[in-house]
Symmetry: C2
Subunit: 197 residues, 2 copies
DNA sequence: TTGCTTACTTACTAGTAAGTAAGTAGCTTT
DNA sequence: AAAGCTACTTACTTACTAGTAAGTAAGCAA
């Protein structure tokens, strides 16, 4: 869940992946090409094909890495040891950072729009990523309600889906309008969850 | 705010617009071409250029028509005469229909992901559309709270932005996962607004 | 009936897309 | 020193992109 790594000081394979992730989040999958990457890395497009034979391989690698990041972050002692409200807060901070520092949306928001044009393998990876993310957040929300520190109606999974959906959309708002409106939406979600109904 | 018209029984200009809207909502702006449209309408790509010289013109026309639809719908007597909760309900129904009948997202969700790759004119139109939509919903929410029939915390504009964001995201969820999860998110939003806190 | 307009088609340009095959420089291994 | 591997480059193909210019058939208008 950390922010994308800088595109330097890594081996070529990783630098390609970093840059591709960057382009994916800022332009979408269909609007970046091997040429974009090659130019930025001062290489020829064919060199990208050497590391990632097809664009599909590159796309799958990007999503899969994000899934690994999620799992790693989620299982970090400094995260698992937090209380549910703190876990939620830490999670929201990731989105807040995205909106401020880069003009990037989250993976779900970036890929859902062009979902029907994506290779099957990418569609599957994205589904997995979203399911795991929803399940984790649902477990946080369930624990928070049990401890009477998070407050909401309905099933934890429904609420988790709603929150993720809203956060994804909030980042899109930040891009189309100003960042401030995005922050207001995030604050709205936070307040509603933390204050007793 | 009505669903897109069928692609037949109209003049060519409108049929192009209808089909382009369809393709935009289902595949994104960068993933459809004049060829797609031409093939479907059994014409040559150059014929599309005759009606819409550039893809930008086509894109702007799509968004602008949607803005006109919004204004028309919003000012319809049968809509203005409704109570705020009924207005909200009628509005949500539009999104519900989108999720069920087509696998289409809303304009905002479709275009936000590739926003940075869009022509300036399209970016501007999309901003206008979203501002007007947010302002209308905010006025409904404000009136509903004044009449004690809609319940929420925070500023009406913030809440409106949050609701729109969530609805946009919900349609994207419907596409990536099943339609049912989308319906659950919409229900969650409805319940929270209609039940006193 | 001549001329203009509408709504196209045909034929083209220039640019870009993903992807491939063959070659090569530099390093390592034996 | 020969062989092989890694990480590329060069040169190419095929397909598609937006867009344009010129031509044309049908209808209407004077």
């Amino acid at each position: 869940m950390q922010a994308p790594a800088p595109a330097t000081a890594f081996d070529t394979r990783t630098r390609i992946l970093n840059l591709a992730e960057d382009l994916l989040l800022s332009r979408g999958f269909n609007a970046f090409s091997y040429q974009h990457i090659a130019k930025e890395l001062a290489m020829k497009p064919a060199a990208i094909h050497y590391h990632y034979p097809g664009k599909e391989d590159l796309g799958v690698a990007i999503i899969r890495r994000q899934l690994m990041r999620l799992r790693k972050w989620r299982d970090l002692p400094r995260v698992t040891e937090l209380t549910p409200p703190e876990q939620f807060e830490a999670f929201v901070d990731v989105y807040r950072g995205r909106a401020v520092t880069q003009r990037q949306v989250c993976f779900f928001g970036a890929l859902a729009a062009e979902f029907q044009t994506l290779p099957e393998a990418m569609q599957q990876e994205l589904r997995t990523l979203n399911v795991e993310l929803t399940e984790w957040l649902a477990s946080v929300l369930a624990a928070g309600r049990a401890a009477n520190t998070l407050h909401y109606k309905g099933h934890p999974v429904s609420k988790a889906a709603q929150v993720l959906t809203t956060l994804a959309g909030a980042l899109q708002v930040a891009r189309v309008h100003d960042e401030q409106q995005c922050q207001r939406i995030i604050e709205q979600v936070r307040t509603e969850l933390r204050e007793p109904v």
